[in-house]
């Protein structure tokens, strides 16, 4: 019996011990009490918040969103074939025609309240961190406000007024926060910018511009206020009706609001221009060739152009597990210099954009100079519907060039630095973009594979015998590795260093804010409002042109500023939002068919000549043009069946 008692006692002891035995702490988590005891863990938490900033960089997929998780379209590193908001605009097309859709359904959702919750958590946690001095605390808090302003800006420009949630919601409280009005939302974002400006440092020391500085906060404010002011001013261009309008959840902005916000934008821009010490990168080139080199350099190596860069996003090689790279050099490389990856040549600038660039002979008028394709002043407004169906006789009246590059010779340096065109030199390769040939007997072969022997030479439809010898027009409508417009992207691509042919292998930094945009913001806001200084605005406009090798001054007009904006900031993600905020999308895209330039080799001459056919782009033509409807200016609010929010008009 004694033994039994001993055993039972041992058994009870064994169970008593149990409480400790089961009480183990997780090994892979930091307790919130300890999480922010040292600056490096604050930096790590900040890294997460920065990763959630909706920067529309190389990894932004505007087709994301929808049923995808919140914020899915950002940092979209998964296997894709190259995305850009540029494809929705008149700047460029995707070579597969993916974005060429009948109506530009705005699918790019952003509803990252998870990110906002994280920022709120940080804002709530930081003041309680022991040992954090007031200076550091305020600095980190301002950083959080910058991030939160950025997030709400991304929401406001997509949805109008949204629920403003500024603290960490407990699951016990009333979670159903209604939408604020669009006006209150914009005001809140601008206040957030001010809270960010309050304590952010002018520099983070060695960190450069990848972490938010006070100048980044001003730049954000400049962009936000310009956007809000434009919506307020041009709302009437595309009026909407419905409950959301009645309640001011979208629209409901006055001309006074516009005036106020243009003023705030100008104020923020002035601060940067006058106090930040930033200047344009190499502002006075000696000739257009040098200008082109300089301009290309800004985007190829943004770290060298730090003098102009206000805020940018950096990458590390993502071919291994560190998936923090992008794929610009892989997907957007022209076919002739493609990497070993199976996708390339996807980014195709339009003829619409190419025509917009000035040449150097305009002498102060600042007007765009269309490419000259025809002889004797023939119309440059006529476009062939389908070059594949052209007959021999339809090739009359075209100007003939000895070299394909000749047609682009005197154009703006930024065209040469941003776009690969037929005959341009890229990585020591002559880029071949050819849509067909006219055989010596006058029979054309366009848009279909073929070859003809003339003397000792064999000529091919696309300019080469094998797919590694040309970059355009092959496989239109079937593949996607060749340009369908006759142009390919050069801006952002690394010419000096070849990049490994694997996705996420590019590490070229993405410039989110640079001084040129601030100059243009200032100029536009000055023209649109009673604020600002016209003289300074004209000066800023022409400084940008002079950096591009122009020597003349053009007058400060809205047309000049907006044209300059499209040219200077091409492909940087601005065009889409400029069309939205100025309410020009629906008028620009009303059965819009974007254009291609199809070089055709004329073999009827004794020496082969090039003629250039202005043509409807295959994909846009296929869908009978693209249309943007008024209600697309706002995206549908996601999840209204459970969040009880008022839906935007016409959804």
């Amino acid at each position: 019996m004694k033994k039994t008692i001993i055993i039972l006692t041992l058994g009870v002891a064994f169970l008593m011990h149990s409480c400790d035995f089961l009480s183990i702490e997780p090994e892979n988590m930091i307790n919130p009490r300890d999480a922010f005891k040292n600056p490096s863990s604050i930096k790590s938490a900040m890294a997460t918040l920065y990763l959630k900033i909706p920067v529309e960089d190389f990894n932004y997929n505007p087709m994301g969103g929808g049923t995808m998780p919140p914020g899915y379209g950002f940092n979209f590193r998964d296997n894709h074939s190259g995305f850009s908001t540029s494809f929705y605009t008149d700047e460029s097309l995707h070579s597969t025609g993916t974005y060429a859709i009948r109506s530009i359904q705005p699918v790019g959702g952003y509803w990252d309240y998870e990110g906002i919750r994280n920022v709120n958590t940080m804002i709530g946690t930081l003041p309680a961190v022991q040992g954090l001095g007031e200076v550091d605390l305020n600095k980190y808090l301002s950083e959080c406000h910058f991030i939160r302003a950025y997030m709400y800006f991304a929401l406001a420009r997509r949805y109008g007024g949204v629920p403003l949630i500024t603290h960490v919601q407990e699951s016990t409280e009333d979670l159903f926060v209604p939408r604020s009005t669009e006006k209150d939302t914009w005001d809140f974002i601008l206040e957030e910018c001010d809270r960010a400006i309050a304590y952010l440092p002018a520099t983070w020391g060695g960190l450069g511009e990848k972490r938010a500085t006070v100048w980044a906060a001003y730049a954000l404010k400049s962009r936000v206020a310009l956007h809000a002011a434009s919506v307020a001013k041009y709302w009437n261009r595309a009026q909407l009706i419905g409950e959301a309008v009645e309640k001011g959840l979208v629209g409901g902005l006055t001309s006074a609001d516009a005036e106020e916000w243009y003023g705030q934008s100008i104020e923020a821009s002035s601060k940067i221009i006058e106090e930040s010490g930033k200047s344009l990168y190499r502002p006075t080139p000696s000739n257009p060739v040098e200008a082109a080199t300089n301009y290309q350099r800004i985007f190829e190596k943004p770290e060298d152009a730090g003098v102009e860069v206000i805020f940018c996003k950096a990458y590390t090689d993502g071919t291994t597990t560190l998936r923090q790279g992008h794929s610009t050099d892989v997907y957007f490389q022209p076919a002739q210099t493609r990497t070993s990856f199976h996708i390339w040549g996807r980014f195709n600038p339009t003829l619409d954009l190419v025509d917009l660039y000035e040449d150097y002979s305009d002498d102060g008028t600042g007007s765009s100079a269309k490419l000259v394709t025809r002889t004797g002043g023939g119309s440059e407004d006529e476009y062939v519907l389908n070059p594949g169906e052209m007959t021999g006789s339809s090739f009359s009246g075209y100007r003939k060039y000895d070299n394909p590059a000749d047609i682009f010779r005197d154009k703006d340096a930024r065209l040469h630095a941003s776009i690969l065109y037929p005959g341009s030199s890229w990585k020591s390769v002559d880029i071949v973009m050819q849509g067909g040939y006219i055989a010596p007997d006058g029979t054309p072969t366009v848009y279909k594979a073929g070859s003809v022997e003339v003397g000792d030479n064999t000529y091919y439809t696309y300019g080469g015998a094998t797919p590694d010898r040309y970059s355009g027009f092959a496989d239109i409508g079937q593949g996607g590795n060749f340009s369908s417009t006759g142009f390919s992207l050069r801006k952002f691509l690394n010419e000096a260093n070849s990049v490994e042919g694997r996705v996420l292998s590019s590490t070229t930094e993405f410039i989110d804010f640079r001084l040129a945009e601030i100059y243009l913001n200032y100029a536009e806001a000055t023209l649109e409002s009673s604020h600002g200084d016209d003289t300074k605005a004209a000066q800023y406009l022409n400084m940008i042109r002079k950096r591009a090798g122009h020597t003349d001054n053009i007058p400060l007009t809205l047309g000049n500023v907006l044209k300059e904006r499209r040219v200077e900031l091409a492909f940087e993600g601005h065009r889409y939002w400029d069309l939205v905020r100025r309410r020009e999308y629906h008028s620009e895209f009303d059965n819009r068919i974007r254009k291609s330039l199809v070089p055709v080799l004329d073999l009827t001459e004794s020496t082969p000549k090039y003629i250039f056919v202005r043509a409807n782009n295959y994909y846009d033509n296929d869908v009978n043009g693209m249309t943007f409807y008024n209600h697309f200016y706002y995206l549908p609010i996601p999840g209204i069946s459970t969040n009880n929010l008022v839906q935007n008009p016409q959804y």
């Binding site: 058994g11 149990s18 790590s44 938490a45 990110g115 906002i116 923090q324």
Partner: protein
């Protein structure tokens, strides 16, 4: 020194001298129940080393001391002890051991008499298991245990891919080996020769195992030592196996004709010109030949073998069992790259250390080597399937790998280690169990047992990819569109350690000869931990060998992880029965886990069961045919520690996956993930299992029937709260204990055994039917009743409804499409692509259009909802098995039939078409020859006068979209009921005369076959209905195998 030795020697001889002075001679005959003499039975004088064995005629003679007790033992028979008394002749009838085994059943933490069992427990013995031998232990069990539902998913060497569950329960059954839960071990890998018995706890009787026993419990008891002289057993077989179903494909010329036909059916265009066709017909030019990839890349047969050698014996005080097993299987790929071999070793020792203090030591070591191609079979088979038969694997006259059109990779390259690489798995397992049992002499029936187990498992996985160039078959030049991969290597270790400690108090006694009382009280501690380490590297510059440190430093990566497990339990069982007539059992468990928050860690799970042996009542005594009738019922709770640990803990983790932000050029600051919404209420999922059944035996146990009805309710299954958080909350709600399900079913087993002269036979059949119903499903409100109706996972629904279109036959004439309902083709309706042979689809809502609104819940599918939108295949709801055993003189025969019903196979139509639907994919299945086609290949398809030849399949089209042939109808969702002759074994045992000559106790040779015959719908035959599952995999996973083996059993 010498004196000392002499003294010892003398002492040894003393007993011998004493014995020689006072002995009597006992003679006798040992026979079995069938009156056959038992040869080689051991007769021992109890407590001495004195013994003998029976002769050829079963007789024996032994000299023993007065008052001696004879101990008669023989393998397969119950040991008997007979006091000699004054007798000089002692004849013995040995009783079949298996009958005794049936009497005693292994239950949780102990054994119980079968007669007084109150739970739903089935048990099979070693003989039942090894009556059909297979390299897969699960194959040997399939169809034999009622309620254990098994579906084999792959025939790949070394594959453990079985879907196994009890009565359709979601959770996998808990595997208990020798009293210790060992979920890290797979039943399939236990050497079947080592198994003494397998016991299956199906109802609340499993609740004694509490934690994670809600999927039922499989208790495996391994062989122990046995008193008697050493007996050595050898068992081995060698055999071959071939696929149960592999489809044939058409030759390259026929394919081109078909492609033309498909193209003409679709658009009227011809794809290949007459000249081109002529080249394929002649087949002389490179790239126009016909190379049957299917035949050449797959072997017709693979070999398999298994050998097992064991020794067993002992005395009253010490006994042992030792065994060694070896097994090897080859694979189907022609390169012979697939191979699996397994070695196992087991040693068991029982010893009485002091009086009443026993110890049992059980040690098992196992090593498995599984080698295969770098990519899974499915990816290689897919290439084999759609490689263009016009090409050969190598450029003629070279060892250059061809770029094969149609396929993404050259299957020949993929299956050769020296070209593409390999995958290797080395699995090592050690299981050590030690227990000490003490009989308290001063309290009758009280025992204490301390048990400790330590298990150690190591998986070493390695994968090597080599790079190779592809060459153009026609020109012999390198094809640069297929760049050679950079050689890379992965090597990973996964180590798991588990400690289980148990302290048991066991009591059993009988009072006043009628009250039988027993009880068990156990305290148990479980501690597990695991380490995972993975290294990867690449060899961009030079590849010398598959070592991590030969790779490029900047390309080398390491990954690691750690897992822990801790559980504590206190459990008990109390049994009472009155004269073995009225039985009651109560069990309880009190379990704690480390996973949940304070206050949510412990769970109390009680269970109770009752039994009544009606046949023991006086009023039944007169009903002669009924030899046993027992009615029993049970109800109990079990708990499962579902969900991830530490959901209650608010903490920051690393974001992982290389996520972070680049604050400084070139260096990534890793991110911290913010705390998730915590869930302090996360706790055990509770299941409530009820079972009512009866056991009936008739005509002196010649006939028996067991019938059970069961229900299992699972409450608190994990789901995310969906309905009441807006998407502005910004946090994903945690998994909470919200959902519930119910499974109900019936289980029947009937059997008959008989013996007519030399012929004995037994036949038994079992069937299990169970279905699961959703009782509570957390989800947002439905927008409409239509949406609710269409939700397959809605509350109240039974699992397994699959929506599809109702097929009502085939159109036979083109003009029928003038009045046929219009097909939806991306919002445009029309029948312009309809052709004779096309499926007539029921326009369920009668709107004149065929679109998704016409889908009906009309098929069965085998899916379970894993939550979060992911689903897994499950067993068909109705399964049955039948075992037939016969013995006639020296010949024995065992057959196991197994089948399943109420399920369908969904073969994605792209899969079933054989990928030829996209041109350039070079195969079409031969069975499509039986199809609708025009008599004149070039006839106008739309002309009503065109003559069509009918067939089973519709007219093939190069693009099926916009036709009824593209819809999910019974053309693609096939009824997959099947019944198969799972195994068949015929044996011959040599007669004693022969055995004497070779000094052997038993020699049996046998032949067996697996998956010999299958009865099923002819259109699923080539898929193998047992295996096939899942979209996109339907026909591509490793085929099941038909195997033929020849083997021998020897005992000495």
């Amino acid at each position: 020194m010498e004196k000392k030795w002499l003294f010892i020697l003398f002492c040894c001889f003393v007993p011998v001298l004493l014995w020689s002075q006072q002995t009597v001679t006992i003679t006798g005959l040992v026979i079995d129940e069938q009156d056959n003499p038992v040869i080689g039975a051991t007769i021992m004088e109890k407590g001495t080393q004195n013994g003998t064995i029976t002769a050829m005629d079963g007789t024996y003679s032994i000299n023993v001391g007065p008052g001696a007790v004879l101990v008669i033992t023989y393998i397969g028979y119950a040991t008997q002890e007979i006091p000699v008394g004054s007798n000089r002749v002692v004849d013995v009838v040995l009783l079949d051991d298996s009958k005794l085994l049936e009497e005693v059943v292994v239950v949780g933490y102990g054994v119980a008499k079968k007669a007084t069992l109150t739970g739903a427990i089935s048990q099979i013995s070693d003989e039942d298991i090894i009556s059909t031998k297979s390299v897969n232990t699960i194959n040997s069990v399939q169809g034999k245990i009622p309620g254990l539902m098994i579906r084999q998913r792959s025939g790949a060497p070394g594959s453990d891919a079985f879907l196994m569950n009890v009565r359709g329960y979601d959770a996998a059954p808990l595997l208990v080996i020798d009293g210790v839960a060992r979920p890290n071990m797979n039943l399939n890998n236990i050497n079947p020769n080592d198994i003494e018995s397998i016991s299956l706890l199906k109802d609340a009787s499993a609740s004694i195992y509490g934690i994670n026993a809600d999927g039922g419990v499989i208790i495996v008891t391994t062989k122990q030592g046995k008193t008697g002289k050493t007996k050595v057993d050898y068992s081995g077989y060698y055999g071959t196996k071939s696929p149960t179903g592999i489809p044939k494909t058409v030759d390259s010329y026929t394919l081109r004709l078909m492609e033309n036909e498909m193209s003409q059916n679709w658009s009227g265009n011809i794809l290949h010109t007459e000249d081109e066709l002529q080249r394929w017909k002649e087949g002389n030019l490179p790239g126009y030949g016909d190379y049957n990839w299917m035949d050449k890349m797959l072997r017709s047969y693979a070999s398999e073998q298994q050998h097992s050698l064991s020794a067993r014996g002992g005395t009253d005080k010490v006994s042992y069992y030792l065994s060694f097993g070896y097994q090897n299987e080859g694979g189907l790929l022609a390169s012979n790259i697939q191979n699996s071999s397994k070695y196992d070793f087991r040693a068991t020792l029982n010893a009485e250390l002091y009086k009443g203090l026993w110890t049992n030591v059980n040690f098992m070591a196992q090593h498995r080597d599984i080698k295969g191609p770098r990519l899974d079979f499915i990816w290689i088979y897919k290439q084999i399937l759609y490689a263009d038969r016009s090409y050969e694997p190598l450029v003629p006259g070279t060892d250059h790998v061809t770029k094969v059109e149609g396929a993404e990779y050259n299957p020949y390259a993929l299956m050769h280690e020296e070209i593409d690489g390999y995958t290797k798995n080395k699995n090592t397992a050690y299981q050590a169990t030690v227990d000490i049992t003490y009989d308290f002499s001063y309290v009758q029936g009280l025992q204490m047992k301390l048990l400790g187990a330590y298990d150690y498992y190591v998986n070493n996985h390695s994968n090597l990819q080599r790079g190779y160039d592809s060459y153009n078959f026609k020109t012999g030049e390198i094809d640069k569109t297929v760049p050679a991969a950079i050689p890379s290597y992965i090597n990973q270790y996964n180590i798991t350690r588990v400690i289980d400690l148990q302290a048991q108090l066991l009591y059993s006694n009988r009072f006043n000869k009628v009250h039988n009382v027993s009880g068990t009280l156990v305290g148990e501690l479980l501690k597990g931990d695991g380490d995972y380490l993975r290294g990867t590297t690449k060899y961009p510059d030079i590849f010398i060998g598959d070592f991590i440190d030969l790779g490029k430093e900047t390309e080398s990566r390491a990954y690691g992880n750690r897992g822990r497990d801790r559980k504590l339990s206190l459990l008990g069982r109390f049994n009472y029965n009155f004269m073995e007539k009225y039985m009651a059992e109560l069990t309880f468990r009190y379990d704690g886990t480390y996973k949940y928050a304070y206050g949510k860690r412990w769970v109390f799970s009680p269970a109770a069961s009752l039994g009544w042996r009606v046949s023991e009542e006086n009023f039944m005594k007169d009903i002669k045919p009924v030899s046993n009738l027992k009615i029993r019922g049970s109800y109990g709770m079990m708990a499962r520690d579902a969900g991830d640990a530490f959901q209650w803990y608010e903490g920051y983790r690393m974001l992982g996956s290389g996520l972070g932000y680049v604050f400084d050029s070139g260096s990534l600051t890793p991110g911290l993930s913010f705390p998730a919404i915590i869930n302090s209420n996360h706790t055990w999922v509770k299941t409530y299992t009820g079972n009512v059944g009866f056991d009936l035996s008739l005509m002196e146990n010649k006939y028996f029937a067991i019938f059970d009805v069961f229900q299992k309710e699972s409450k608190g299954e994990l789901a995310r709260r969906a309905s009441d958080t807006p998407n502005t909350f910004g946090g994903e709600m945690p998994l909470e204990n919200l959902n519930s399900t119910r499974i109900r079913g019936v289980e029947v087993e009937i059997g008959h055994t008989n013996k007519i002269d030399d012929f004995s036979y037994r036949v038994s059949a079992n069937m299990t039917y169970s279905r699961k119903q959703f009782m509570k499903v957390e989800r947002p409100a439905y927008n409409s009743s239509m949406e609710r109706w269409r939700d397959m996972w809605a509350e109240g629904r039974y699992i397994g409804a699959r929506w599809g279109f109702e097929d009502m036959g085939q159109y036979t004439h083109i003009t029928q499409f003038e009045t046929a309902p219009l097909i939806d083709r991306n919002g445009r309706y029309g029948n312009s692509k309809g052709r004779p042979g096309g499926a007539i689809i029921k326009d369920a809502n009668g709107d004149g259009r065929i679109d998704e609104n016409d889908m009906l819940p009309m098929y069965w599918n085998g899916q379970i909802d894993l939550g979060g939108g992911s689903f897994a295949e499950t067993n068909p709801p109705l399964q049955y098995g039948m075992t037939l055993g016969m013995q006639w003189k020296n010949v024995d025969l065992t057959m196991v039939l197994q089948g399943a019903s109420l399920f369908t196979l969904f073969t994605n139509n792209w899969d079933i078409w054989g990928y030829a639907r996209t041109f350039g994919r070079g195969t079409l299945y031969e069975f499509y020859m039986d199809r609708w086609h025009t008599k004149d290949p070039n006839a106008d398809r739309l002309d009503p006068a065109t003559e069509w030849v009918p067939g089973y399949w519709n007219a093939l089209m190069s693009d099926p979209s916009g036709t009824t042939d593209d819809l999910l109808s019974s053309k693609w969702i096939l009824n997959a009921n099947y019944l198969r002759l799972k195994s068949l074994e015929i044996g011959y045992s040599f007669s004693p005369k022969w055995l004497e000559a070779i000094r052997s106790e038993n020699v049996r040779i046998y032949f067996n076959a697996f998956n010999l015959l299958t009865f099923c719908n002819e259109h699923v035959r080539h898929l193998d209905p047992e295996k096939a599952e899942g979209d996109y995999q339907a026909n591509l996973t490793y085929p099941l195998m038909k195997s033929f083996n020849f083997g021998i059993n020897l005992s000495f």
